[in-house]
């Protein structure tokens, strides 16, 4: 038994900082940490092709919106996973520097999305009014409901 292990008590080794996936791959994998990617054999890709739903006829504005929302999803998930790591490793300097970078990116992307499309949070309305103080739009009701799969 190591010093941290004791009889009659569960024990999980603390994770050390390691290699990370980029934000796009991290979202697809479900974690930013390569060390925590532990897939299930029956979850491996089946030979059924994913047919992109109506990509060809898609309006360019909607395509642009989906692309920007995709980036927000990626950087936000990167932050979600990083945050939980920092909750148990608050002194991890590499984690902190990743956090600072990603927070800045997310802030910028949220503002960009609000101004071009619609606000994702109520606070994002501030970004819209900052850019266009004369805008007469409450805007909070704009945009599809998230559960509609953005196919509206």
């Amino acid at each position: 038994m190591t010093e941290r292990e004791h009889l009659a008590m569960a024990s999980v080794p603390a994770q050390s900082w390691g290699e990370l996936y980029d934000p796009k791959q991290a979202l697809k994998t479900g974690t930013i940490f390569k060390d925590l990617n532990l897939p299930f054999f029956a979850a491996e890709d089946l030979a059924i092709p994913v047919v992109p739903a109506g990509e060809a006829g898609k309006d360019p504005k909607q395509r642009e919106r989906e692309e920007l929302l995709g980036k927000i999803q990626e950087v936000s998930f990167y932050l979600d996973d990083l945050r939980l790591y920092l909750d148990t490793h608050p002194e991890e300097s590499e984690g902190l520097s990743e956090l600072k970078k990603a927070l800045k990116q997310r802030k910028q992307l949220l503002k960009e999305f609000a101004v071009s499309f619609y606000p994702l949070t109520f606070d994002c309305l501030a970004g819209i009014y900052e850019e266009e103080p004369e805008r007469q739009c409450f805007c909070w009701e704009k945009g599809p409901a998230p559960w509609e799969g953005a196919c509206v």
């Binding site: 004791h6 569960a10 479900g30 299930f40 148990t88």
Partner: protein, 212 residues
């Protein structure tokens, strides 16, 4: 205080109606090891945690579980939004249809309603964190079972994502338990209850308690 962000944590885009699959997946909404149960468990346990960082972790994971609940509900919704009565009958969704039409209601795959009986808030940090470790494993097994049964890639991708999160959360709860142990009697972890016998807790939790 919570703030809503108008997007899903992981995208869901299901193009085919399938009430049979909806009835299986709905278990992760209102079932015994579902996301709603997970969220309520962690958000209930956090108040009395002796280590502040552990209360913070429970808040963050409990919040993430709410976003997982939203992913599951979106899947159930998209699988049933264009449902016909014939499809409901053929897919074994007729009983649900009678009670809820195509509304989204928290129940298990077995039709058992959501209940707080499925989780604990025991007022003992070691007990609660050990339950949390088990809860993540139980949810992972549900996702494993769903992945064995559902072939459609549109449905599998979000399920794979959610399964991966259970493993990450397990790791974090393990680390939270290690932090909690540091505040206990090293020779006998069961000598006192760190949530109730506050005067016996050693630093850093004691130092934190003084801050308040």
């Amino acid at each position: 205080m919570w703030i809503y962000e108008k997007r899903l944590q992981y995208p869901v885009k299901i193009t085919k109606t399938c009430p049979k699959t909806a009835q299986l997946i709905i278990s992760q909404y209102g079932g015994p090891d579902g996301e709603l149960s997970a969220s309520m468990r962690y958000l209930s346990q956090r108040y009395t945690m002796p280590v502040k960082a552990v209360g913070g972790l429970l808040t963050d994971i409990g919040t993430e579980e709410l976003s997982h609940m939203e992913i599951i509900c979106s899947m159930v919704y998209q699988l049933t939004k264009n449902l016909t009565v014939e499809e409901a009958k053929a897919g074994g969704f007729d009983a649900y249809y009678i009670d809820h039409t195509a509304g989204i209601w928290p129940q298990a795959a077995s039709a058992m309603p959501f209940t707080a009986k499925e989780f604990q808030s025991k007022g003992d940090a070691v007990t609660d964190l050990t339950e949390d470790l088990a809860a993540e494993q139980k949810a992972r097994t549900v996702y494993d079972n769903l992945l064995r049964m559902i072939p459609d890639p549109e449905i599998r991708e979000p399920l794979k994502f959610l399964r991966a999160r259970e493993i990450v959360h397990f790791q974090r709860f393990g680390e939270a338990l290690e932090k909690t142990k540091e505040t206990l009697d090293r020779k006998n972890f069961y000598y006192f209850n760190p949530e109730f016998d506050k005067q016996m807790v050693t630093a850093p939790a004691a130092a934190e308690a003084g801050e308040k």
